[in-house]
């Protein structure tokens, strides 16, 4: 239907693109003077943190910028068509889904829940006058190609009947229906579990080679790019600060920011193994299950979140729980924090059964740090109130003493005193996470339970927080229980690792040993899926 692009001509080309967005009180230049050129079969990685303008660039290519956005460029073409001069109708008819297709970060929500996948696949062709039979044949062909099992049978099923990975495969198939020359993948794996991530990236690579298309891969994760992109473009605040062959950029980053990005990737640490301390937490064959209903009237289902888990946490060590979402690691943390009671098994805190440890004593022993720095702070309280709250609840000290202690902890966690009366909404994500750490520290607990402490933060901030935690651990002789899906974090921080899957312990061992020689298949898949540099 659309003529094959001339081999000599680049698939997509942008010269001097500027995108400005209206914001309260003026305009924001989301992309400034960007130029790029992309040949068939080539993969360009665009990397940057949120707000760097990488997504805006992609949306500009599709003509899908939010209303009110202004686009200026010397030249912008996809598959030989000049996007700048095209109307929305023309863009719809000729570019979107035809010359250029796009897949998005969230496979769970990118399919319309009320229509079957068959309809959503075929309409990409039928809406432009193709026969349904042709479209169906093509769709089944592509579903086979992207590796969806039983495409014929599942053709009339609805999105909610597929897993996240499967949905991303369906979305890739959908993007390829009209054989576009360019595929833009905006964070295609961020929302997926690590083991699935690798599969999807490999699938993209395979499709690119099989179909001869050009790919723009947008990500915040340098790791993703190292194996899958030919060239890399690094963006910061709307500007391209560095561009070049992937290996070259990784090996010899030119720009300070690029260097920081690469450096901030967690590295294996070289901490001497901690001395054998006393056992602070002993967990014996703990199980936990939930009965729940999806709606008020769906049947009751039982989910076994944790099955027969046993481990010991000794004073001074850092133990990491690794697993994908639903592996039961967060449930474990909740049980330790006294937020729920186990259905079976025993948990002993410092030698006492957790059920007989009074709440307030337990609070002195261990404190949590949560994942989401937006949700973990009460937006109606000022920073000092938040940090002081544990002292208020435990009724420790006088007003002045509490304020004194608050200031001390703030200093410890690197929070400037000017934040004392600030509210969470006035702070950045990293600063908030520091507040959360300060709150956890103010009672001088011996154990900190860190539930995904960095996964909601930008990469460069992640590194700062991890460094802070490392420093505090040393200075305060903290015992850390780390819960994460990020193996990089594990390698940097943990002494010991426990790998979990479906509520059960798959493998446990010292970090270095486990990374070097995993014994279980699952652990191997997990490790392999992490894009090492």
């Amino acid at each position: 239907m659309n003529e094959q692009t001339n081999a000599s001509q680049p698939t997509a080309e942008i010269e001097n693109l500027t995108v400005s967005l209206p914001v309260p009180g003026g305009t924001l230049e989301a992309v400034k003077g960007l130029s790029l050129s992309l040949s068939p079969r080539e993969t360009l990685g665009i990397v940057g943190e949120s707000g760097s303008g990488k997504s805006m660039t992609a949306l500009a290519l599709m003509g899908l910028l939010p209303p009110g956005a202004r686009v200026e460029a010397d030249r912008m073409q996809v598959g030989g068509a000049d996007i700048l001069t095209m109307s929305d109708r023309q863009l719809s008819a000729d570019i979107r889904g035809h010359k250029a297709a796009m897949i998005f970060q969230e496979p769970m929500t990118s399919l319309n829940p009320v229509y079957s996948i068959g309809r959503q696949l075929t309409e990409a062709m039928t809406m432009h006058g193709q026969r349904y039979d042709t479209a169906r044949t093509r769709a089944l062909e592509l579903l086979h190609a992207v590796g969806l099992p039983d495409p014929e049978e599942r053709f009339s099923q609805y999105p909610h009947q597929f897993s996240g990975g499967q949905r991303q495969r369906i979305l890739i198939a959908m993007a390829l229906m009209n054989s576009p020359g360019l595929l833009i993948a905006d964070e295609p794996t961020t929302a997926l579990d690590v083991t699935i991530q690798a599969q999807i990236l490999d699938l993209l690579k395979e499709m690119r080679e099989k179909l001869g298309i050009a790919v723009i891969l947008i990500t915040h994760d340098f790791g993703v790019l190292s194996h899958h992109a030919d060239r890399v473009m690094v963006m910061l605040k709307g500007e391209v600060i560095e561009t070049g062959r992937t290996e070259a950029v990784l090996r010899k980053p030119q720009h300070e920011y690029t260097r920081r990005l690469i450096d901030s990737l967690p590295k294996a640490h070289s901490r001497p193994p901690p001395p054998d301390g006393t056992a602070l937490i002993e967990v014996e064959q703990v199980s936990q299950s939930y009965k729940f209903r999806r709606g008020l009237f769906s049947p009751i289902r039982t989910i076994e979140a944790v099955k027969d888990v046993s481990f010991t946490l000794s004073e001074g060590e850092t133990l990491a729980f690794v697993g994908e979402s639903g592996s039961g690691k967060s449930t474990l943390a909740r049980m330790l924090l006294g937020l729920e009671a186990p259905k079976a098994g025993r948990i002993r805190l410092d030698g006492t059964d957790i059920a007989s440890v009074p709440d307030k004593v337990r609070a002195h022993l261990l404190q949590p740090i949560f994942q989401d720095p937006y949700g973990s702070l009460n937006p109606r309280m000022s920073v000092s109130q938040i940090i002081r709250r544990p002292l208020d609840i435990h009724e420790i000290g006088t007003r002045a003493e509490r304020a004194e202690r608050t200031r001390a902890v703030m200093e410890q966690t690197g929070l400037s005193p000017r934040f004392f009366h600030a509210f969470p909404s006035q702070m950045s994500g990293g600063q908030r996470q520091r507040v959360a750490i300060a709150r956890a520290l103010i009672l001088n607990p011996r154990i900190i339970v860190c539930d995904e402490p960095t996964s909601a933060l930008d990469v460069s901030i992640q590194a700062q927080i991890l460094t802070l935690l490392e420093g505090l651990r040393g200075r305060l002789n903290l015992t850390l229980l780390l819960i994460t899906h990020d193996l990089g974090v594990v390698r940097q921080m943990a002494d010991r690792v426990i790998v979990m899957q479906d509520g059960q312990v798959v493998e446990a061992g010292m970090t270095a040993e486990l990374f070097a020689a995993p014994t279980q298949d699952y652990t191997r898949t997990l490790l392999a899926s992490v894009s090492a540099l």
Partner: protein
């Protein structure tokens, strides 16, 4: 789409909300109108020399100024020669008192149940949900009529009946907000600190659902005013000779085609007050929404 990371000069949430309120046309308009009505209600005796109940049947049905009347009775007089402006002004008191009283009663019931259901969940939630299902199914107007009829009409009875029958929105919103807040990590942090439920509800949950409650309160305020007017109109509300606007409309109904102002004036007052209240509610929702979204 990727967020536009603007390093806005931060300000505390309350001040930010107040600033947004000052710049919200709906709130400003609604607020000004509501305040004017409140002032009229409070200072009614100073604004008119007439009493709302004193009749002068030799001087009935005087048209208002714009319909050929005179300035002695700017809004004219009713079928008993009572000054219509005086009745309207004193009627504001009834509307405001009923609005405040009924929505406060509804608020107390709904918020209490909502907090309990949202915080404890499980059986408590199921019980409260069942109560809600029953309450929603109750034909409110009919039940209110029956109740007022049985107990006997008076302003207090109307306030209580309307209040007792209008708590579902408070419940629904408080429950949903509480459930959401409850799952937020700062609540879990407090629980991990060993705090007992009451301090968590008062310190962590309530401040974060207050904005929703205020929004609902505004809407229910308007609804209660309309409910009172409707009951009075149907003859089972505030008893005569109290100058309830609904009653004034009912009394003016006979003259609708010939002295339409008797119906139009109280109707317009009712409309203006309720629309102002609702505009405030809409505005407050707009203004507090950004925080709710975070």
């Amino acid at each position: 789409m990727s967020a536009v990371d603007l390093d806005l000069e931060g300000e505390p949430p309350l001040r930010a909300t107040l600033r947004r309120m000052r710049h919200h046309k709906g709130i400003v308009f609604g607020g000004v109108v509501v305040v004017i009505f409140m002032l009229l209600a409070v200072f009614a005796p100073l604004l008119t020399p007439y009493d709302y109940a004193t009749q002068n049947i030799a001087n009935r049905m005087v048209p208002p100024v714009w319909a050929g009347g005179n300035w002695t009775h700017p809004f004219g007089t009713d079928h008993l020669g009572r000054d219509y402006l005086a009745r309207l002004l004193y009627g504001t008191r009834i509307s405001v008192i009923v609005g405040v009283g009924a929505s406060t009663i509804g608020c107390c019931i709904g918020v209490t149940l909502g907090l309990a259901a949202g915080y404890w969940g499980g059986r408590v939630d199921r019980f409260v949900s069942f109560l809600l299902a029953c309450q929603l199914a109750m034909p409110t107007i009919l039940l209110a009529m029956a109740l007022v009829f049985i107990i006997g009409p008076s302003t207090l009875v109307v306030i209580c009946v309307v209040g007792v029958l209008h708590w579902n929105l408070f419940l629904v919103v408080t429950r949903a907000a509480t459930m959401r807040v409850r799952e937020m990590e700062f609540v879990q942090a407090s629980r991990a600190l060993g705090a007992s439920p009451m301090p968590i509800i008062t310190h962590d949950v309530l401040p974060n659902v207050t904005s929703h409650i205020i929004v609902i309160y505004t809407f229910e305020f308007g609804k209660a005013i309309l409910a009172e007017a409707t009951l009075s109109f149907l003859g089972v509300g505030v008893p005569a000779p109290a100058p309830s606007w609904g009653l004034m409309i009912a009394e003016g109904r006979n003259a609708l085609f010939f002295q339409p102002w008797l119906v139009i004036i109280p109707g317009a007052a009712l409309f203006l007050l309720v629309i102002a209240v609702n505009l405030m509610g809409d505005g407050l929702r707009d203004v507090t929404a950004p925080e709710a979204r975070q």
